[in-house]
């Protein structure tokens, strides 16, 4: 798909995870798997900061 100067691409689940992991490290200073572990353990309860939301929104489904 082409249009203007922006393209659209399908990325793999692994690529999506890599980008989530990079964002987690950059924004929260945590690896992606640690963000997932803490989130699923309820360790972020009450911490719904915009930065945390920005990372969690990037988490690929099923990972």
């Amino acid at each position: 798909m082409m249009g203007g100067s922006v393209t659209v691409e399908k990325i793999s689940e692994d690529q999506s995870w890599e980008e989530f992991d990079l964002a987690a490290r950059r924004i929260l200073d945590l690896p992606g798997d640690e963000v997932v572990r803490r989130w699923e353990a309820g360790e972020f309860t009450g911490q719904n900061s915009p930065e945390l939301m920005r990372v969690l929104m990037l988490r690929p489904s099923g990972r």
Binding site: G4, S5, K10, E19, L56, M57, G62
Partner: protein
């Protein structure tokens, strides 16, 4: 935006976003799922803060989540697949990095805050100020107010109005603009 297949539906979903962003920036919109059973993530340039065209050097980050659904009844014959948006984050920042506005909707992550909301600039205490549905075109319009400039103003106006009009045809909520307010004397008895 309907499609004959799940892939076509995702392309119909991403295409207008691609064209709108293409009026202001270079880069890549990515999607990570064509599977109706898997919620997907759409990002612009890995959801980084991307500087938009214009001397103000305003930046924008875009993340959306979506789900591919098969419609029971559909207005476009032969196109039973549709993409529904299930969340978004649009973050607009000044050149300095200061926040202009942070538009969020992430009901699956924060069930206690299921509505679309905005985090405004200079927020001392975190609040979730409700908004209606926010499209990427709305955020780009705000970016223009903040000093961004489309590379071709006429093209942007055309794409913006076409995208919103087409989106409204398939959207199930939140895109209808209120009409003129009727005076009591105009209302039927």
């Amino acid at each position: 935006m309907a499609g004959r297949t799940p892939v076509a539906a995702v392309k119909a979903f991403a295409g207008p976003i691609q064209r709108a962003l293409g009026c202001f920036a270079h880069g890549k919109v990515t999607v990570d799922s064509y599977d109706p059973d898997t919620e997907g993530v759409l990002k612009f340039n890995r959801a980084d803060d991307i500087v938009l065209n214009g001397s103000a050097r305003v930046s924008l980050s875009v993340t959306m989540r979506y789900r591919i659904v098969k419609m029971r009844s559909f207005s476009s014959p032969g196109k039973p697949w549709k993409v529904s948006t299930t969340g978004w984050i649009y973050t607009l920042k000044e050149q300095s990095g200061d926040l202009i506005a942070d538009f969020h909707w992430h009901p699956a992550i924060t069930p206690g805050i299921p509505f679309p909301h905005v985090h405004p600039a200079n927020e001392v205490v975190k609040r979730h100020i409700p908004t209606g549905r926010v499209l990427v075109e709305d955020v780009l319009t705000l970016a223009v107010e903040c000093g961004s400039a489309p590379t071709d103003g006429d093209k942007w106006k055309t794409i913006r109005s076409r995208n919103i009009e087409n989106f409204a045809k398939g959207a199930t909520w939140g895109v209808k603009q209120p009409g003129p307010i009727q005076k009591p004397s105009d209302l039927p008895n």
